[in-house]
């Protein structure tokens, strides 16, 4: 896509006019099987955005069922989904469960991570460290295509008998062991996605360690690079246990083993003929050993983006840069020893729960430090309210709500009431949707000019911002009350419960917000595609920023920099007293 794509539409030759392309690369090598980190980054980003949108559509459908559990869907939907899923316009519970499990899976593994790490990481990280490309370009390409195959497998699973995975994104056995064939595809898909992440993370780490430009010491790295670097370690070391768990569940499903099945299971009043002696909680341990670090994989890149955007648009250095970096490292480390806070209700005794409650409280401290640093950075600033900045600023209170509501969940006593209710859904959506998604939107608006040489439209951007901010809150804020009232998650029809019926109005409110949120995305989609063609052309450094990616041409050619950059100072030297302008780029020697 981007600039090159645009030219491609007209004639191949015009690209050469820029002198960007030394090698004669065919269409396939240039746009499809490219080894250029920027093309791969854009491939990742666009694929991920499409998946995000798809995951969101699933949720819009579910919200209809939630709001009107006794009603039927308009006949239009009944026709699309057919009698197998929606006989007579009534969504079947199994279809609801498929949508839920796949929404979670798609949003996390096919949407946010590929966008945050595969997209932004790939595109920005080499540029920010002044490297010509990733350390292993071909591995990079492989990583994208393995991801792509994983995504296709996941999508395909909707069309097999019995439908897609339907045991939640957490796939707890024994339920997932006895689920229809879609679960097998889910496992196979996951193995692909995990492999892709592993390839990617090796690449990120090596690139960051080995390919930094001259003068770019670790403590001169932009915060975004730090965030990606720590994220890569999380992916590298936390994913393999889930891969192992996936293999074990696959064995349970196809080879008749019983790793996760105890003896004496009775389904439909018949004893299940397996060897038994397995342990259902083993899966949960292995799953959360990944999935807790995974939630920091979701948030760290977004924090990285927000840090960049804030520094640039406050026109002053990021407050407490070193402290923030240490916090991120500490956060990454701690994220490996809190996993069982998702399992407090499995029958945990006092010792173990004391341990995990404590680590959970400890891990909130670095987040507080990071957020505090960001907010303090605003003090004494000269805040430019650009569209990316607005998203980045909104990230702060939104993440704060999400993060703060994590605290009661981390206290076992409070978690008794809140576990597996909509309070949890509210908590983590505030961190992943109004939090991470806002951060990612900020990134799209912020780096769009670098990728295309054109800016996105401001009006449409602001429309998108306000719509998104308002309706995200409308969607998720009610969930705290719904959860307090005791409504369980993954519930096809909450009105069957006394307490659920009492808060049904809030659920309806949330649903309407979700649909309006969908409408609020239209300006973004239009803006995104239209700006590639007709957006205002901008200079190489439109935001007057200091980091290295702005030293490269927009869009950067193969090999990135016209002159190999050398770094002279830290990443956020804005408004330096006595300097000629209000920014002193890393790549400009002192005059």
């Amino acid at each position: 896509m981007s600039h090159d794509d645009h030219h491609h539409g007209h004639s191949h030759g015009s690209a050469h006019a820029h002198g960007d392309h030394h090698h004669e690369l065919g269409f396939w090598q240039k746009y499809v099987f490219s080894v250029d980190h920027k093309v791969i980054g854009i491939q990742y980003a666009v694929t991920a955005l499409v998946f995000l949108f798809f995951g969101f559509t699933l949720m819009m459908l579910m919200r209809y069922q939630l709001a009107y559990p006794k009603g039927t869907f308009p006949s239009f939907f009944a026709k699309i989904f057919g009698a197998a899923n929606m006989p007579g316009g009534t969504m079947l519970p199994e279809f609801y469960n498929q949508l839920g499990a796949m929404h979670g899976t798609i949003m996390v593994f096919l949407g946010v991570v590929p966008l945050a790490v595969g997209g932004f990481g790939n595109f920005v990280l080499p540029l920010q460290i002044g490297a010509p490309d990733m350390a292993f370009p071909r591995l990079n390409m492989a990583s994208y295509w393995v991801f792509f195959v994983g995504g296709v497998v996941m999508l395909f699973s909707f069309f097999v008998t019995g439908g897609a995975a339907q045991s939640g994104w957490t796939s707890y056995p024994p339920l997932s062991n006895i689920a229809p064939f879609g679960q097998t595809l889910w496992l196979i898909g996951m193995v692909f996605l995990i492999t892709s992440s592993l390839l990617g993370s090796v690449n990120f780490i090596v690139t960051t360690v080995q390919l930094r430009a001259e003068g770019l010491s670790f403590f001169r790295l932009p915060f975004f690079v730090w965030a990606q670097f720590v994220t890569a370690f999380l992916l590298l070391l936390a994913f393999p246990p889930l891969e192992a768990a996936g293999v074990l569940q696959l064995m349970d499903r196809v080879a008749g083993t019983s790793f996760f099945m105890p003896e004496g299971l009775v389904v439909g009043n018949r004893m299940v003929e397996v060897a038994g002696e397995g342990n259902p909680l083993l899966w949960q341990h292995l799953f959360w050993f990944l999935a807790h670090p995974e939630v920091y994989v979701l948030i760290l890149p977004a924090m990285g983006i927000v840090g960049e955007v804030i520094a640039i648009n406050t026109r002053k250095p990021l407050w407490g840069y070193r402290l923030v970096v240490y916090s991120v490292i500490f956060l990454g480390f701690m994220s490996f020893i809190v996993w069982a806070h998702h399992m407090f209700m499995t029958g945990m005794g006092t010792t173990m729960s004391a341990f995990f409650q404590t680590t959970t409280m400890i891990i909130s401290i670095p987040s507080v430090i990071i957020l505090t640093a960001f907010v303090i950075s605003l003090f004494g600033a000269s805040i430019r309210y650009t569209v990316p900045m607005m998203f980045a600023l909104a990230f702060l209170p939104m993440f704060a709500i999400g993060g703060l509501t994590g605290l009661p969940l981390g206290l076992t006593a409070a978690d008794i009431h809140l576990h597996d209710t909509y309070y949890v859904i509210g908590h983590f959506h505030y961190v992943v949707a109004p939090g991470t998604l806002m951060g990612l939107f900020a990134g799209v608006y912020h780096w769009f000019p670098k990728a295309t040489g054109r800016k996105m439209n401001d009006m449409l951007g602001k429309l998108h911002f306000w719509g998104t901010l308002i309706f995200l809150n409308g969607a998720f804020l009610p969930m705290f009350w719904i959860g307090m009232a005791g409504v369980s998650r993954r519930l096809y029809d909450q009105t069957k419960y006394f307490h659920g019926d009492a808060v049904q109005d809030l659920t309806v409110l949330s649903s309407w917000s979700v649909w309006l949120l969908g409408i609020a995305q239209i300006p973004f989609i239009i803006n995104f595609f239209a700006s590639m063609r007709v957006g205002k052309k901008v200079s190489d450094n439109p935001w007057a920023a200091t980091t290295l990616e702005w030293a490269a041409p927009s869009p950067p050619p193969h090999g990135n920099f016209a002159v190999v950059p050398v770094v002279y100072r830290g990443p956020y030297e804005y408004s330096v007293p006595g300097a000629a302008s209000d920014f002193s780029p890393q790549f400009v020697a002192k005059a």
Partner: protein, 258 residues
């Protein structure tokens, strides 16, 4: 229940230990609110005060920020209080301090299945009959071994649970098939029910009434229908109920099973 006690906040609490849980949730939320509002005021102040405008310049010099350290240490201290002062004591009572014999607890086995709650009362002799998965059938959902003399007076109920108020109840939770999670909102009780394991929970009701027991863990298509009625009765009323069960004899008991 004429006017519903359920609303936009907690469901009513009718258990002895529930108040402790509610208090923690309250306290934490006040703490969160203070933090959020404090930070929020500073945040909004900065947004307005330090907006870019002609003649205004950002200052390179970092503001002296003792406040942040104070705030961070404050958060830490409060979290320690939450942990050690509030959460851990409640939890250890909830998990590791079963009712003592002199409190005369009543034990009931709970057998969860897709998608129902089965309750197994020991009957007048106070002893459970033997059970085994082998015996499970449509007319014997808890797998009771009917040849065991202890089983003769056992009572099995499906999606109905009767209990007296003011007497500790100990539920022994097992599952036939997948993981369920017993969720009694009004009792502030939640506990995963895991096949292959027996896990106890206990609570004491302080009020009578008709409530619900739900399932909080996704357990299959009809997870949402896995709801049992819960009847908390006056001890006298409960004894009466129990007698009726016994007098209903062996045959009719099976009716209750189904």
């Amino acid at each position: 229940m004429d006017t519903s006690p359920y609303g936009w906040w907690f469901p009513p609490n009718i258990s002895m230990h529930g108040a402790g849980i509610d208090r923690i949730i309250d306290v934490v939320h006040w703490f969160m609110a203070v933090l959020f509002v404090g930070w929020g005021i500073f945040f909004v102040y900065c947004l307005i005060k330090f907006r870019a405008r002609p003649g205004h310049q950002a200052s390179y010099q970092l503001p002296k920020a003792k406040i942040s350290k104070v705030a961070e240490v404050g958060v830490l201290v409060f979290e320690v209080f939450l942990l050690v002062g509030l959460s851990m004591p409640v939890w250890s009572k909830y998990r590791n301090d079963p009712p003592k014999a002199e409190e005369n607890p009543m034990e009931i086995r709970v057998v969860a299945e897709q998608f129902a709650w089965n309750f197994h009362y020991p009957g007048a002799d106070g002893k459970f009959g033997r059970t085994h998965p082998r015996f499970m059938a449509a007319d014997n959902l808890i797998g009771l071994d009917r040849s065991d003399p202890l089983a003769a007076d056992d009572i099995a109920l499906n999606n109905k649970f009767y209990m007296p108020k003011d007497r500790p109840i100990v539920l022994r939770l097992t599952s036939k098939d997948v993981i369920h999670s017993i969720w009694i909102p009004v009792m502030r009780v939640k506990q995963d029910v895991i096949p292959g394991m027996e896990i106890p929970v206990w609570f004491t009701a302080t009020q009578t009434g008709h409530y619900q027991i739900g399932c909080a863990q996704l357990c299959g298509n009809n997870h949402f229908t896995m709801i049992s009625d819960l009847f908390v009765q006056e001890p006298e009323e409960f004894r009466q109920w129990q007698l009726e069960q016994k007098s209903s004899g062996g045959e009719e008991e099976e009716e209750e099973d189904a």
